[in-house]
């Protein structure tokens, strides 16, 4: 009961009455409070109690002081109650009927019923927390909105304000181009670091400390952003991808020939990044660059199989030839599994399976699926 403070009962600005109920007796914990029966009023901000005879005797506590509350069913000779558990009293609390209390909870005893509706409304208010909505400024002052900061509510409002301000520094919401929303997070620290590394790389081309690189790369990984360094030096977007595509076109010709004209994109990724050493490619950049092969008239193509496997193949690579030769191989050996086929051709198992599946799709092969594994036969049907 020591959480209550004397009040004149007048509602503040933006505070509205939600429900009131007469015939309510207050309890300090389990003991009856030294107050008479009265009216309890629930507002959007506070819980107010007023003596039914003496209207000057009016006390209130903020809803923000409520931790939780529960119903206590009526018994024989006992009215239904609502038990309200409260936070500890704050230092700057205004004087009230009780200086101290050994109980962290109070009870509202509904002698004339009405507890069900009251409980429902209290639940609503506690969920909505309408007292937290910042009060709009009516008087323009230099510093933010200032209204009567009453106890905990005021402190909470200030904290909320500060949080909003700091957030502004960290995030920016920008609209780019035609209504596409991009949220970019500018972590100050990260930007500083990336700038210093970018400069170092530009100057010394690779003489960064191991530590910095690792830190930087881990930031990037956690944010999912592609390497901004190379983008800065070579531009971002399609221009960058075009340059990259050209580079790949040169780099991949020899390996492709070696592997029979086709390589899985994962193989390409490993090969390219191993060769690059420092300015590693992200998978997205690789895919986007590969997509440009055709438009740039390069002798390479990016191809996606039905299963989703992506490969880079020489333009001169003819699928019909491949399938015809696959059929020959299978007929020759009677039947083949993808592993056997891979070994025969020096292809990766993944690619050999794709080829066999394609031949099956075209009707040249049929399958034998058993406990021994998946085998392909020439289609004799």
């Amino acid at each position: 009961m020591d959480r209550f403070a004397w009040t004149n009962g007048l509602l503040e600005m933006n505070e509205t009455l939600v429900i009131q109920q007469r015939g309510v007796k207050l309890y300090d914990g389990d003991d009856k409070a030294k107050l008479d029966v009265g009216v309890v009023l629930l507002t959007t901000h506070r819980l107010i109690w007023r003596d039914h005879k003496n209207h000057e005797c009016c006390i209130a506590l903020s809803l923000s002081q409520i931790i939780y509350f529960e119903e206590q069913a009526a018994g024989i000779g006992k009215s239904a109650k609502i038990v309200i558990h409260l936070y500890p009293v704050t230092a700057n609390k205004e004087p009230g009927p009780y200086q101290q209390s050994k109980f962290p909870y109070i009870k509202l005893s509904f002698k004339e019923h009405g507890q069900i509706e009251f409980f429902r409304r209290l639940t609503e208010e506690m969920t909505q927390k309408r007292w937290e909505t910042p009060v709009p400024q009516t008087i323009s002052t230099a510093t933010g909105s200032q209204t009567r900061a009453v106890g905990i509510v005021g402190i909470e409002r200030k904290i909320e304000q500060k949080r909003k301000e700091t957030e502004q520094n960290i995030s920016e919401v920008r609209t780019r181009g035609n209504s596409s929303l991009v949220v970019s997070f500018k972590a100050k620290e990260m930007v500083e670091l990336s700038r210093s590394i970018a400069n170092k790389i530009k100057d010394k081309h690779g003489d960064i400390t191991e530590d910095e690189t690792i830190r930087f790369k881990s930031y990037l990984l956690s944010m999912g952003i592609a390497n901004p360094v190379t983008r800065e030096t070579h531009g971002s977007g399609t221009n960058y991808h075009m340059q990259l595509a050209k580079q790949l076109g040169d780099m991949l010709l020899a390996p492709l020939e070696e592997r029979g004209g086709m390589m899985a994109l994962t193989e390409v990724y490993c090969l390219v990044n191993r060769a690059r050493g420092m300015e590693l490619l992200s998978p997205e950049d690789l895919v986007n660059a590969c997509k440009m092969f055709e438009s740039m008239q390069l002798p390479l193509r990016l191809r996606v199989f039905d299963s989703g496997v992506m490969v880079v193949q020489l333009q001169s690579h003819s699928e019909e030839e491949m399938i015809a030769s696959a059929l020959d191989n299978v007929t020759d050996k009677g039947s083949l599994t993808s592993e056997e086929f891979a070994k025969l051709l020096g292809l990766s198992v993944l690619l050999s399976k794709e080829r066999l599946l394609l031949a099956e799709k075209m009707g040249h092969l049929c399958r034998d699926d058993s406990v021994e594994g998946l085998r392909f036969y020439p289609n004799l049907f």
Binding site: R367, S370, L380
Partner: protein
């Protein structure tokens, strides 16, 4: 005369339901004719799905391949669509196999009846299927239920 297995029977892929649609059609057609031929040869009129899994038709022990239950169901469904099979129960566990469709039987019987000049005379079903006169005819020994069905499409008095 022992049953002659078709070449597909010893071709392992025959026992795997083919994903390629065209290949599958050919495969199923082969299975249908094999199943019907087998039933005809052994004069089988009913099949139990569980039992047929172990039957040599769907299970080639020599090449260690057998049709899966799903595939067997697909073959049976194919036969049903063609009119060669009828389910005996709702759970699709037993079926009637008509390696000759009832209409075909009807026609055969009618042909024999007219051949022996017996049109307009009365026959009992028993006489038709088991009578001395019909010995040697294909429909001799035909089970009653299929005799009954064969009459549906044919004009009999």
């Amino acid at each position: 005369m022992s049953f002659e297995w078709p070449w597909q029977y010893n071709f392992p892929p025959f026992f795997t339901l083919q994903p390629n649609v065209d290949t599958r059609q050919k495969q199923l057609a082969a299975w249908c004719s094999l199943a019907l031929a087998y039933c005809r040869h052994h004069k089988l009129y009913t099949l139990d799905v569980m039992e047929s899994q172990e039957s040599p038709v769907f299970n080639n022990k020599k090449i260690e391949r057998k049709l899966s239950t799903e595939a067997i169901q697909v073959v049976f469904e194919e036969l049903r669509k063609k009119g060669n099979l009828d389910w005996l129960d709702k759970n699709k566990s037993r079926c009637l196999v008509m390696w000759r469709r009832p209409e075909e039987w009807g026609k055969l019987i009618y042909q024999w009846v007219s051949k022996v000049g017996m049109i307009n005379s009365v026959f009992t079903l028993y006489e038709l299927s088991n009578g001395d006169d019909t010995e040697g005819e294909e429909f001799h020994g035909l089970e009653e239920w299929i005799l009954l069905r064969s009459f549906k499409g044919v004009k009999f008095f």
